[in-house]
Amino acid sequence: MADDSSQLTGPDFEKGIPIDDVADGVMLLGHAGGEAVLVVRRGEEIFAIGATCTH
């Protein structure tokens, strides 16, 4: 989780990335639609949620 999304870093997930770039159980920070997004792989499943803590 990040506390500031003003600067986007990492890959643009909308363009797509090689699946092998996301290791199992590891979080990868990138962006989509102008928002910081965390991508997480758990086995065969891949999840993507907003990376900025809402607190």
């Binding site: 506390d3 090689p18 699946i19 996301v22 979080m27 639609g33 758990r42 891949i46 999840f47 607190h55």
Partner: protein, 444 residues
């Protein structure tokens, strides 16, 4: 990342990986959730998920009444709606303000570094939009558990299907003559914080009584306002009982370096208009005094309704009292922690999380409250995170370098780790939370 959740290292908020749902306070809003697509060896995001499926609670009480509009009460009201409860919710608070960010009142807000708009947890229209009826500045006087009805100080009555008690606590007052002097302040509510700010604007010197969290945070905030600050405390080292000797020394030195004067091992004997006289005769000149010597849980309402109390309102692991349908959360709740046994703590995040769990259980979730207690406290550039619950007799060992503001104190009862306090080590503290939760043996 922990199992199916993502945790924020700052204040340990917890989000669902599948849905982005804010499962645990202090975060109250979900994060966004995105659709993903795998195509051969590549993966991409195809868009944001905007409409989440509606939920339906297992049980839906006719009405829910929440007594107390602080951390626990506010979080519970929101969670009831988020879980799809459609019945009437009434949130009744003695405070004149709707739920606000209480931790800030002794920190940045008091220091003058937080704007007014940071303080309410939600804008006023949030409660209208969510159809949460709010009653402010009004106390609940009695609960009739047979008729399932509460009666307010203004004479009104509300029936309830389920009831949540979240009445919080009030500051302990000094036991000295003329304690209601106009220049003596206590800090609990937004109004209290504003009164101290007003007083500080035209003051040069303040005395803080109490060397624990509230007292020291007030000292820091008043130093930020360029006042001369003296702290009087009965213990020889601040916060030693909670955080151990090493942290006590670090906090004391940090305050001293920033100009706070300590008078430890002392209590005030008299408070006069322009000075405080200590029990050894020392006179400390000051324009006003703030006392932060602890709080007392407000359990009289529960007691008078025949609900079991014992240094708090006694609840089971589901946060339900001995009266079915009546739950308690926050400062007043004495609950069976899976590690520490029956405890009662006065932490913001714990109160919010208990409010959330109680709300889910009001709707039939049968969710045990098992999260280790967590709090944070700021002292100038020393930002402390603490997770777990140490009984006070535990052995403390240091990992890292506290003086360099990068280390942890690990508390152990025999071989079992009970709590970890950290500075500059967010991830270590978060990992400790996860390990405590899982019951793993932590590496010392």
């Amino acid at each position: 990342m922990v199992d199916g959740t993502v945790r924020c290292p700052w204040h340990h908020a917890c989000f669902d990986l599948r849905t982005g749902e804010a499962l645990r306070a202090p975060a109250l809003n979900d994060v966004s959730c995105w659709k993903t697509e795998k195509n051969g060896a590549r993966f991409r995001i195809t868009g944001k998920i905007l409409n989440k499926p509606a939920r339906k609670p297992a049980i839906s009480p006719e009405t829910v009444v929440i007594v107390g509009a602080g951390a626990a009460g506010g979080a519970a009201a929101e969670m009831l709606r988020r879980q799809g409860y459609n019945g009437p919710i009434t949130l009744i608070g003695r405070d004149k303000s709707l739920p606000y960010d209480r931790p800030n009142l002794s920190k940045d807000y008091l220091a003058g570094n937080a704007p007014e708009e940071w303080i309410p947890l939600r804008p006023d229209d949030f409660y209208r939009e969510q159809k949460i009826d709010t009653v402010t500045g009004t106390e609940v006087k009695t609960i009739d558990t047979r008729k399932k009805q509460v009666t307010l100080s203004d004479g009104r009555s509300f029936g309830y299907g389920a009831l949540l008690l979240a009445t919080g606590s009030d500051p302990v007052h000094l036991d000295i003559p003329d304690y209601d002097l106009p220049n003596l302040f206590y800090l609990r509510t937004l109004a209290d914080s504003r009164r101290i700010i007003e007083k500080a604007k035209n003051a040069k010197r303040a005395v803080v009584i109490g060397e624990s969290f509230i007292g020291l945070e007030v000292a820091w905030s008043l130093r930020e306002r360029k006042l001369e600050v003296a702290v009087v405390g009965k213990h020889s080292l601040p916060l030693e009982g909670v955080l151990g000797r090493e942290f006590g020394e670090l906090i004391k030195k940090t305050h001293e370096k920033n100009g706070v004067k300590f008078h430890l091992g002392r209590m005030p004997a008299r408070i006069e208009e322009k000075h405080v006289q200590l029990d050894d005769g020392t006179k400390l000149d000051c324009d006003f005094v703030v006392a932060g010597i602890g709080v007392r849980p407000n359990i009289r309402l529960a007691e008078s309704a025949g609900i079991t109390t014992d240094n708090g309102v006694v609840v089971n692991e589901f946060l339900e009292t001995n009266v079915p349908g009546i739950f308690a959360a926050g400062d007043i709740a004495s609950w069976p922690d899976p590690r520490a046994g029956r405890i009662r703590v006065e932490h913001w995040v714990v109160a919010q999380r208990q409010g959330q769990t109680a709300a889910r259980n009001i709707l039939g979730a049968r969710e045990r409250f098992v999260v280790p207690p967590f709090f944070w406290s700021n002292h100038f550039d020393v930002h402390i995170q603490y997770v777990g619950h140490s009984g006070g007799k535990d052995l403390a060992s240091v990992s890292g370098d506290l003086k360099a503001k990068h280390g942890s104190v690990i508390f152990k009862d025999g071989e079992t780790i009970t709590a970890v306090a950290s500075v500059g080590r967010h991830h270590e503290n978060l990992q400790a939370e996860v390990a405590l939760e899982r019951g793993d043996k932590l590496r010392p």
